[in-house]
Symmetry: C2
Subunit: 280 residues, 2 copies
Amino acid sequence: MNIGIVGLGLIGGSLGLDLRRQGYRVLGLSRRPETCRAAIARGVVDDADVNFTLMAKAKVIFICTPLSAILPTVEQLIPFLAADTVLTDVGSVKTPVVEAITPLWHNFVGGHPMAGKTESGLDAAQANLFLGQPYVITPLATTPVTAVESVEFLVKALGAKLYHCSPQAHDRAVAWISHLPVMVSAALISACMSESNPLVLSLAQHIASSGFRDTSRVGGGNPELGVMMARYNRQELLRTLKSYRQQLDFFIDCIEKEEWGVLEEKLMQTQQARPDFLDS
Amino acid sequence: MNIGIVGLGLIGGSLGLDLRRQGYRVLGLSRRPETCRAAIARGVVDDADVNFTLMAKAKVIFICTPLSAILPTVEQLIPFLAADTVLTDVGSVKTPVVEAITPLWHNFVGGHPMAGKTESGLDAAQANLFLGQPYVITPLATTPVTAVESVEFLVKALGAKLYHCSPQAHDRAVAWISHLPVMVSAALISACMSESNPLVLSLAQHIASSGFRDTSRVGGGNPELGVMMARYNRQELLRTLKSYRQQLDFFIDCIEKEEWGVLEEKLMQTQQARPDFLDS
């Protein structure tokens, strides 16, 4: 069976490596001829082209472009597809993608592999990137069962942990655990930068250690990615940010009023709750 | 030369291991006889006792108790000391400690080794814990130079990076890079816990990965320690929390108004600023 991959970066490239090892013939598409050549040379794909015609032969196509390119890519792709071709994407926000593409292509299943690393691009692609990692798919009630089953089958073959939910539930969940932490962490760096006494700022910079390193990591990440999260998941992110601000005010209030018992109770709750988010 | 260590936990025990290797005779004090025996058996100290009389022989004494026990410990210790004995502590907040002890003991130098690990207690003590780590000392203008020099000499022998500043500058700097991150991170966990849809909460728990893990780490730590930071460094922590809240509001405002250029500019600043806090 032929599988198409549009966009040969970290995710597209890693999918290619795994799916070829499963015995599928993998066809790649990139805007850049040198990426096509590199993908063939690295064994990420069997064939690759800058031209959409290659995708006519694929039964299932993974759209692995950045979020903002998913819709225009699908619009360009559609004229080349057989009617039963299954499309799926790997975007990190699902509601706007699913709402835009479903009217254009019936056999579309929204997807989000929760795998990643700091590096991006084809050079960072690796086998088993998805192994043991969550992979959320967000079919609608109207999505054809055959399309859903095709995507599920491939996701399971990657060794990923498959989750199903609505696009809205997905976007709300990633707002909590992925997009909110970026803003919370970036605001921490911004706040530290605002220290007006240069001696204190310099001392803080020199004595910062693992606590600061970890809490500030995602806030010091790729700015474009941060903006994209906020743009595409604006409503859910704002909802979580406002809930976060209430919690922050609770902590400020406790400390202002010296309610140490209340603060300790709260910190006991957070200590107890954290492992529930990390034992997946 | 005899060096005293009062409180044989992670910090006291690790100091003992390093100072004995430097050739000092290390005398330990713990409230628990079994800790004294264990410290001798592990080679952390040359001798140890539950009785303060042992400290009469020490030239320099490190007070390595929890913050709240520093003042009562020094009060109990003073009747046993020779007038030229140098006292220093390892508490993570300096203003209240220095203000309370300086009137009681002239030869006192506040100190704070910025070394630690998740485990605590004597069993976690290790050689070279301070090697390459910041060690801040906070002498006052009135602190005898000989006392400051004694502590400096020992700190340098540990291989630590020595910093000097006022107790106030220290407390402001640690509020930014250590105490504020705890509250910011705990509020993140609290906010996630507040999700009212159980399906979304469960999905969030299952798909949370390294971004959430890192940002939530210090907020899921020891509750007693968190309360102690807030109690002893209340004023500086509140100051940083309020500045943080302003920054958070800036992010919320950008996203609400869809000012994506402004948000990207801000995230570029945080990306650029973060390494300045981590290259010490």
